[in-house]
Each structure stands twice: as C-alpha cells, then as structure tokens.
C-alpha cells in the first residue's frame, strides 16, 4: 500500500486527523522531479501550536517562492498518532507530499522554547534517523536549527549539524543555494563534511562540531576553540537591515482544525526599544525596526484576501511603540470594518496606552485587559527596568474601566533578583488598589458591579543575552515560600491567583543556560520517554531527575549558581551584537535599582552597530 493510502486508513482512528494529512488552502505542492532542494520545516510541537508560529509562515513562503526549492511542514504527532505511526512503520513525513522526511535535503527545526528539545530528538527518531549528528551519514539530510533558543544552542550541539543565528530571511536561501551548487546531481547529496565546512563560512552559520570546548576543574568553561580554519572565532547573528522591504508572505496555510492562533498575522516591527532586563526577546531581536504604514496596510489586505480569515492581528514585541500607531489603526480599521474582519492588537504596553488608542481598540473588540507589571513594587520594577509606574497602571485601568472593561489580568514574576517579601506583598496591594479604583468609579460610568482580577505569577528564568544571564534562579524553597506569602497576602475574593509549575521553571533554567554536557541529559530523558514536555499532561519531572542523576549532572550548577562577570558563558562565542560589557553594566545598575532609558529617549550604547537599520540607532 502506498504511504498516503496507509496514512488515510489509520487516520480514521486518531483525534483531529486533519492535522496529519495536509491539503489546506495555501499549502504549496510542487512536482518533486522538478525540485532541486527539499526542506522539511519541523516545528517541534503539535500542529495546533506550530501552525500558529509566524516564523514558519514567513520562511515557508520565502523558500517556496524559489521555483526549484520545496519547503514542507512537519509537526510532532500527538501520542495517539505517534503510537499508530510506530505500530505501522510510518516514518515522519512532510504534510505537502506525504513523503518521508529522511529523503529530504534539509531537516530544519525552529527552537522556540527549551521544553521542545526532546521533541526534536523524537522527531528525528520518528523520521528514522539517528539522533546524534555524528551517527548520521552522507546519505541522510542535513539537520539545521534556528529560532530564539539557538542563541544558546549548546544543549543541542550533539544532535544538530548546524545552527542558524538571527533572522532567517536571507541566510536560509544562502544556505540552500550553497547546497544546490554543491550537489553532484539532482538525486545526489553533497558530502556532508564538505558542505558543513563551506557553510561555516556563511555569516550567521554555527557548526558546533567545528568547535572544541574545554572545562576548568570547577566545571566552568575554559575555552571554546575552532578546530578548522573555516570556522570563525565568533559567529555573528544575521539581521535584516531593510526591514520594510523584507519578504513577507502574501498567503498563509489556512488550517481546517482550530489552532492556537487561527488568524492572519502581520508583523509591524521587529526588535524592542525597552530593554527590560529579564527579557531575552528584548535584546536578541535588536535593533528596533519598523515597516511603513503603507506596507503594513497592503500586507494586511493581501493576507486577508488570500486566506479569507475573519481576524487579523498585528504582531510585534510592543505594538504601541510603533511610531505611527494611530495612523496605522485608522487605515486598518477602515478596511477591517468594511470587510467584517476583526482586528486584534496583542502586546500593547501600559505606559503609552492613550485615550485615543483605547477608543480605537474599542471600535475593534472588547475583551479582557492584560497588563504585565512583572513586579509588585516600584523598586523591583526599577531593578528589572520595567519602566511602568503605579500611576500609569492606575491611569490606564481607570481609562479601561470607563471604557467598559471589568476584567483585568496581571502578570508577575516571582524570584527576580533582589526580590524581598515586601515586593511580594506589593503584588497583592496592587491588585487591591485596582479593585478599589473600580469601585470608586460611579456605577453609571462603569460596566457592571463585579470586577475580576486574575494574577498570574511565573517563576523567573534567567536567560542568555540578558543583563540577568549571570543571575541564579531562586531555589524551589524560596519560590514556595514566596507563593505561600502571596497567597496569604491576598485578601479579596475578586482576585484569582495562579502560578506556574515549579519543575518546569527549573528545567527551563537548566536548558536555557546549559552547556554541551547538558545534551546527555536531554538524550537520556528522551530515551526514558520524555516528550511533549511543555504539555502538563505529559511532563514527567521525576524522569528528568533520573536523567540528571544518571548523567552525573547537577541541575543546580546551571540553575542556581551566580556566574561572575568574567566567566566564559556557553554562548560567549556567539555574537548577538549586544555587547557583554553592556549586559555587565546593566546588571550592576539592576542591583542599584537604577533604570536605563529606552532607545527612543536616547541611545544607551548596547553595542548594536549603526548600520543595522535601527530606527533609533544614530
């Protein structure tokens, strides 16, 4: 039986089969006999999650735009279908051709969060490939990975042939073009070592096998040294300098089943001016670049027409920082109103949330209001450089209540550097003040008589390429004590509190700042059956604990240790253009509770070169 027919029969017995068969509007099917380079774009999580990812949509369109390249989508199967695949010898396949991905030229993973690492291994295994890079031979695909977690790729260094650092729109095509040139014939692959050696010369490409890591007696890194002449000492991330002109897809794959973010998405800006000290995205996507109003309007219209979506969302790290936000919304709302399309604006910040802006959003839709003060007191907000004051929060809440909102969601982090119990109490107090504010507004002017506040607390995970990359994560005991204290400080039943699973945060902390030795733990955990770790129902920390024990690796060394400023960090040979000396400076200021101005107010010398297209870079 042909693979397709076999899959179709088996799909009758799995949940949401439309996820495994392709055929969606917007999916690109080519004649494989006319294609030179085939790329399997793997999102290491399920279809529902992966199909919501904007980066995949961009790179999928970009690659398929080249006539003789074919990029297909691949997702991790849910457990029910994975079992069916294994019982019936169905190898992991691409959703467009339904061909096994082990026959492709490239297998590429996007690394969006640390807890997807075991899925990477599992998908390689389901494809019928050895998970270790050194065990894969010349007749197997080149396995590549990119995305935000590639900024510290060391825990995956043993499994991936090469990492792509930074923005992918140019470098992906350069890589595929090199491969195409090196192919001896259409149905033959180039020799892998030679390909990697040439690829290492491309800016932004990191081939981990070309670097040796040595360690000091105390377990810290002594040196990371290239072992071939082609490998540069420092690998620099890629940046799109002319962001307004960068490729953007005019069509998305429109799924049949409902996915997490089922809508058209238009990117308005990249990078962030803010420099919140805990936020990795705020630094690794620098500099701040914008698209023109016309470009965004055109792309919105195009996408809506091509996909038929009834909802479009503007994507960025902070949409209200877009300089022409009011003009943009005016343009867009005219179009979306006329077409019965709803416009959503995630990522709005409190401090520049004007009355006018609120009015515009109101025309759009009235859902809950979400703020992320991150910390309960002004002192701690200064430490993390979250430049939001209590007055601003109150002012915005007041506007919102007058505008008819009666639900507020507040996000906080626990375990931030220098945090005390006073800061914890501050969270509860802030919640209480918001409730009082609501009831101080005249009944006729607010909506209803019942306010709901949800406070959600996450455990702080220190990340590479942030001023807190040196910081220890708070221990389990500290976090439990703080959670308990917060619970006791809450006096109102109008406030609902939720917090994250502690084990998850610990594992994230280890994987985020792990070195190559942590790779053994990932391998062992996967061998023990850990997969889909970001799903509560599958996450099995005791197995991870066993894996740490068996590999002789102490999670506390990675999670809870303070690193000195001169320690060589596992990602120090990667250059994300924001300098380490800036991070050191920012770290020192954090401990003095001193804030740093944002890029718009003036340059703080983070190290991003002037010629990268940054709006505020000189």
């Amino acid at each position: 039986m042909e693979l397709k027919e076999k899959i179709e029969q088996l799909l009758l017995n799995v949940q949401k089969p439309a996820r495994y068969i392709g055929g969606e509007v917007g999916s690109v099917v080519k004649d494989k006999n006319k294609v030179d380079v085939r790329f399997a774009f793997c999102f290491p999580d399920t279809y529902d999650v992966g199909m919501s990812h904007l980066g995949m949509k961009i790179l999928y369109g970009l690659k398929n735009n080249v006539e003789n390249y074919w990029c297909e989508r691949v997702f991790a199967p849910e457990k029910d279908f994975e079992n069916v695949m294994q019982e019936n010898n169905i190898p992991l396949y691409g959703l467009e051709s339904l061909d096994p991905i082990k026959d492709f030229d490239f297998i590429g993973f996007t690394l969006q969060y640390e807890l997807s690492y075991t899925n990477v291994l599992n998908m390689l295994d389901l494809a019928g490939l050895p998970v270790l890079a050194k065990d894969r031979t010349d007749d197997m695909p080149v396995v590549v990975a990119g995305g935000p977690c590639a900024c510290n790729p060391e825990p995956l260094a043993d499994f991936i042939d090469l990492f792509i650092l930074g923005e992918g729109e140019e470098v992906n095509l350069e890589l595929m073009s090199l491969y195409e040139k090196m192919k001896p014939a259409r149905d033959k692959r180039p020799e892998k070592y030679e390909f990697l050696r040439q690829a290492a010369k491309i800016k932004g490409i990191y081939v981990p096998a070309f670097y040796d890591v040595s360690y000091n007696d105390d377990g810290t890194i002594k040196a990371v040294t290239p072992n071939i002449p082609e490998a540069p000492e420092k690998i620099t991330k890629r940046i799109i300098k002319d962001f307004d002109k960068v490729y953007y897809p005019d069509s998305f794959v429109v799924p049949f089943t409902s996915i997490v973010h089922d809508r058209a998405v238009v990117e308005v800006l990249r990078g962030c001016i803010r420099g919140c000290r805990f936020c990795q995205a705020g630094f690794i996507y620098r500099p701040f670049r914008e698209k023109e109003v016309d470009t965004i309007s055109r792309q919105t219209k195009y996408l809506c027409e091509q996909t038929g979506y009834e909802e479009v969302s503007l994507s960025s790290l902070s949409t209200s920082d877009y300089r022409e936000i009011e003009m943009l919304l005016e343009n867009l709302v005219d179009y979306t109103d006329k077409e019965n399309i709803s416009l959503s604006l995630p990522s709005l910040r409190i401090d520049n949330f004007s009355e006018k802006l609120l009015e515009k959003i109101q025309r759009i839709r009235k859902s809950g209001l979400t703020f992320a003060p991150e910390a309960g007191t002004q002192r701690l907000r200064d430490v993390i450089n979250k430049n939001v004051s209590e007055e601003e929060i109150m002012e915005t809440c007041k506007l919102a209540f007058l505008g008819g909102y009666s639900q507020v969601k507040l996000y906080f982090m626990l375990g931030l550097p220098t945090e005390t119990m006073e800061d914890i109490e501050g969270i509860a107090e802030l919640g209480k003040k918001i409730i009082d504010l609501y009831y101080s507004i005249d009944k006729s002017k607010r909506n209803g008589n019942n306010i709901q506040i949800s406070i959600s607390t996450a455990t702080f995970v220190p990340k590479p390429f942030t001023p807190f990359e040196f910081e220890p994560q708070a221990t389990r005991e500290e976090i439990s004590a703080k959670q308990k204290h917060l619970l006791e400080s809450l006096s109102s039943r109008k406030i609902k509190l939720s917090y994250h699973n502690q084990d998850v945060s610990v594992l994230e902390a280890v994987l985020a700042r792990g070195d190559r030795r942590v790779g053994q733990v990932v391998l062992r955990a996967w061998e023990k059956g850990c997969v889909l770790d970001s799903w509560d129902e599958y996450f099995d920390f005791p197995k991870w604990q066993e894996a740490f024990d068996e590999c002789g690796i102490d999670p506390e060394f990675y999670a809870n240790r303070f690193r000195s400023y001169d320690e060589i960090l596992p990602w120090d040979h990667l250059d994300y253009l924001v300098s380490k000396s800036f991070f050191v400076r920012e770290n020192k200021k954090a401990h003095e509770a001193m804030t740093t101005r944002n890029c718009k107010e003036g340059c703080s010398g983070c190290g991003i070169p002037k010629d990268c297209g940054g709006v505020y870079c000189g």
Binding site: Q9, P17, A18, G23, E24, V25, F256, G308, E339
Partner: protein
C-alpha cells in the same frame, strides 16, 4: 454604556441559495465543525458577499442541513447560504471553486426547492476489505442485509455518571441493498440508509458493519465510504 450591534439595520435583504458540493480525498478528514469555518473563509476569499445574521454577534449565514461523518466522502453534500446580492449561479460556482480547499468542489448552485425535513434516505458506496476472500464476504453480507431482521447495536447517550449503554434494534425497514460486487480490490456495496435532518431515524453505516462483523465473526480491516445521493420522502433527489 450601550453596545450597538456592528451592523444593526444594515441589510435585511438576502438571497437564499442551495448548493451541493463534493468532498473527496484528503478533504474527507475535515470535520463538520471545521467545514463551517473552511466554507466561511472560502466565501471571503471568493469575495462573495455573505449575509450576516443581524444580532449582537453577527455571523455569516451558511448552513449544512446534514452532517457527514469524519472520513466519509460525498458527491452531494447540501449547503444553504444567504448572499447580499443576486448573482448568476454559474458565477458563484466558478468563483468558489477557484479558491476552494483541495478535495471540495461546488457541484450545483440553485434556489432551495425542498424542505430540510423532506430528507429521507441517503445512498452510500462502501468498499470493505476483510480477513476472508471477497466472494465469501459478499455472500455473507448479502445474506446479512436480506434477512427478515437486521439487528444492530445503537449507542445510547450515557446518563450522568453511568457507563455508555447500547440498545439492540431492528433496522430492517431502514436498509436497502442496491448492489454488491466483489473484486481483488475488496467488496463494493451500494446501499440506501435512513437519513434525517430532523428527529427521524438516522442510520449510519458504521453500526451496520459492526453488527455484520460480529454476527459472522469477520474482521473488517479496510473501509472507505462515499455518500452518492440524498433522497426526499417522495423519492426525488433533494434539491
């Protein structure tokens, strides 16, 4: 603050269309709920102005009188749509088919003639492969559906905190074998089953095949099914 529905008083004039579409190949895995969303987006892509319901939460007026089970193909699924404009049937059909998902095609467009409650029977073409030779399967299946009684297990909605239960019923009057042939590809069965868009008895082929499999102790290891016709009480095609 008073909320005003977005399109209050906008459009009360609407033109009703009844379309039929085929759903084949990979499209058979689109569930009923997902199909609604897929069709809404198809109309948007086609630039066909759908009439929106005039409430606080306006939604496009598209309606499927019958549900098709996941995994089953069809040649004639009915769909009712209200448009804001009167357009040529052929134009509607071609504009939709240009932007339709793979496997779905609009087959006919016209004005609604029958009432949904007139729907009475559906014809299916079912291919099964079993652990027995095709001729033997054919013989037993013909026997099974020609008997004076055809007993199947009908699943009953489980009561709160109870286990799922089944009731045995005789579906003789709801089943009519139209043709059956055996080949190396398996056994092809053409069969007419009771179908209803209302509260009348509705018979799916799955419990029928299950009952057959159990009665004759035959393992069915492959099923593909396609709805080929929808008939009204008066014996005419549903249009």
């Amino acid at each position: 603050m008073a909320d005003v529905p977005k399109n209050q008083g906008l459009n009360l004039t609407r033109y009703m269309y009844r379309m039929t579409f085929s759903k084949k190949g990979r499209a058979k895995f689109i569930s009923h709920l997902d199909l609604m969303r897929a069709m809404q987006r198809t109309f948007k892509r086609a630039g066909l102005p759908i009439w929106y319901t005039q409430g606080f939460n306006p939604h496009p007026y598209i309606m499927f009188p019958l549900a098709l089970s996941l995994g089953v193909e069809s040649e004639i699924e009915p769909m009712d749509v209200a448009l804001l404009e009167k357009l040529e049937n052929e134009e509607i059909k071609s504009r939709l088919n240009m932007v339709m998902p793979e496997g779905i095609r609009i087959e006919t467009v016209g004005e609604p003639v029958c009432d949904h409650l007139d729907i009475y029977r559906s014809d299916y073409e079912i291919i099964i492969k079993t652990d027995r030779p095709p001729e033997e399967t054919l013989k037993f299946f013909s026997e099974f559906v020609s008997a004076d009684e055809i007993i199947i297990k009908k699943r009953l909605k489980p009561k709160k905190n109870r286990r799922e239960t089944h009731r045995e019923i005789d579906v003789r009057e709801y089943v009519k074998l139209l043709g059956i042939e055996a080949s190396n590809e398996g056994v092809k069965i053409n069969i007419r089953l009771a179908t209803s868009a209302g509260n009348d008895f509705n018979l799916n082929y799955t419990p029928l095949l299950d009952a057959f499999s159990e009665k004759y102790n035959i393992d069915i290891n492959y099923i593909s099914a396609k709805r080929t016709k929808i008939l009204c009480r008066n014996g005419e095609n549903f249009i």
